[in-house]
Amino acid sequence: MTPSAADLIRVLPETIWCGFGVLLMLLQPFLKNRQGLTLFAMVGAAAGTLATYFGHMGSGFFGLIQFDTYSLFFHWLVGLVAFLVILASDSYLERENLASAEFYALILFATAGMGVLASAQELLTAFIGLEMSSISSYVLAGYRRDAVKSSESAVKYFLLGSFATAFFLYGIALVYGASGSTNLVQIASTDPSSNLLRLGLTLILVGLGFKVAAAPFQVWTPDVYEGAPTPVTALFAAGPKAATFALLLRIFTTIHAATDFWFWAFWILAVATMFVGNLGALVQTNVKRMLAYSSIAHAGYTLVAFTAVTTMKLDPNTGAAPAYAAVLFYLLGYSLVKVGAFTIVSEIGGKGESYQTLDDFAGLGTRQPFAAAAMTLFLLSLLGMPITAGFFGKFYVFKAAINSKLIWLAVLMTINSTIGAYYYLRVIVVMYMREHKGDVPAGAATGLSPTAAMVVVVAALATVYLGLLPNHVLGIVLSQNLILSAR
């Protein structure tokens, strides 16, 4: 019983990410040049992502992982996010005078963890993946060691994250007890009336709900996002969240019992999350924190699509395939936009992240037209305006909800979009329609650094591309047998 070569190639991306992480640490003493490290890390991120090209579809490692279009999609997603975040961190690390090698290594390890999550077909493997990304994240959150906020962010993330992990793990234990296995495919064949299974799946939902910041498990999100170094926040908002959703969706589509149990749970989580996120964001004056709340709201929108997925089995004719597609498309668009937006916040923040309030954004339209325009594009995408990725994302989510006859959910989402419009618009308004009070402080950034600008351009182009020509990506997310483990 040794894994085949094909299996090894199926995990090549993770291997490459981890390998580059190790190499980064090894090279650190020799490569004093920060840009060199950045480039090396980017190469690693890219290489890992591209390595998916060699993988063969199918399950590997005795059914622990499943390499399918779905996992491919999420590998690309997290790889791309890692690539962009590394690129965006370059100037940040220089400004904040932080060590690069460890930072990049941690990002790569976290990415590897996310990759595991995306392809895991077995709960324990998923758990290990989750922990890899989480533990890296804890460290990354506290990476600005001398900043009180950063360490506080790390503490909160660590304590609450571990707390939630314990729930997740306990859920795994119970599911294992009920079905005698932790493999999703085998769990799927368990008698769905088992209460132990029900209890276990619920606790798993608590753990994963925490990771994706679904209300009322969202409490940690604003604090952690605000305190963490901004590029790390970008990573948090995009990568782990998408990867956790990936796992959740795989559990969903594989274990039909789960969809039965979880329908109302998701309905309520979705509604609560949308409202908490949007209403919370409404009253924020710190842009970074506002975006944190906004990411809660977007988790809520994603959960709407999830709720639509749950009806798949209940009514096979509604066609849940578009609902998966909605989740995938939404997450892609959302992640890229969040990376772009946080990158701009990171750059505007200046040394010590001192300028992140709305007042600091005032008059940005004249001071930094490019940054302001890009930020506007990202905000409009988050808002769901046409010709941006966010519009199609929201459009597909709506469509999934309506296809599943979840009219009320769609209506509530509509209301939330409108609330959301208000606070996104406020940032735009401040940037373009208000003048900066007093002189612009000397420490504030005068323009985006070239690396950050590159990230912003890539994210903006991707946003518009997905908003104008979504066909290609749609072709992927709508492909037959997207999720091989799904029955």
Partner: protein, 100 residues
């Protein structure tokens, strides 16, 4: 023979006490201990199920959990040291700069 449910109920009680401890304790280190307590409860459940099902993979999981717990401990204690350095206090209730 001890019925498996006894072990499981014990595990649930320990898990519940872990949750209580997490909520109740103020010292970050003891809160972290509460997490360890919860993980121990999980381990107990794994072993009990493993025995009841007559499969050994449950015990393998326990090994993984222990490893993960150790890794978490390393990082967690690092974070705690960092916080203690920054704040000169281990009371979790005083870690409230980020809020609202």
């Amino acid at each position: 023979m001890v019925p498996t449910s006894y072990y499981l109920v014990l595990s649930a009680i320990l898990f519940g006490l872990g949750v209580v401890a997490f909520v109740f304790k103020r010292n970050i280190i003891t809160i972290f201990m509460a997490i360890e307590l919860m993980l121990n409860a999980v381990n107990l459940a794994f072993v009990a199920f493993s025995q009841a099902l007559g499969k050994s993979d449950g015990e393998v999981f326990v090994l993984f959990v222990i490893v993960v717990a150790a890794a978490e401990a390393a990082v967690g204690l690092g974070i705690i040291i960092l916080t203690a350095r920054n704040r000169r206090s281990l009371n979790v209730e005083h870690v409230d700069l980020l809020k609202l």
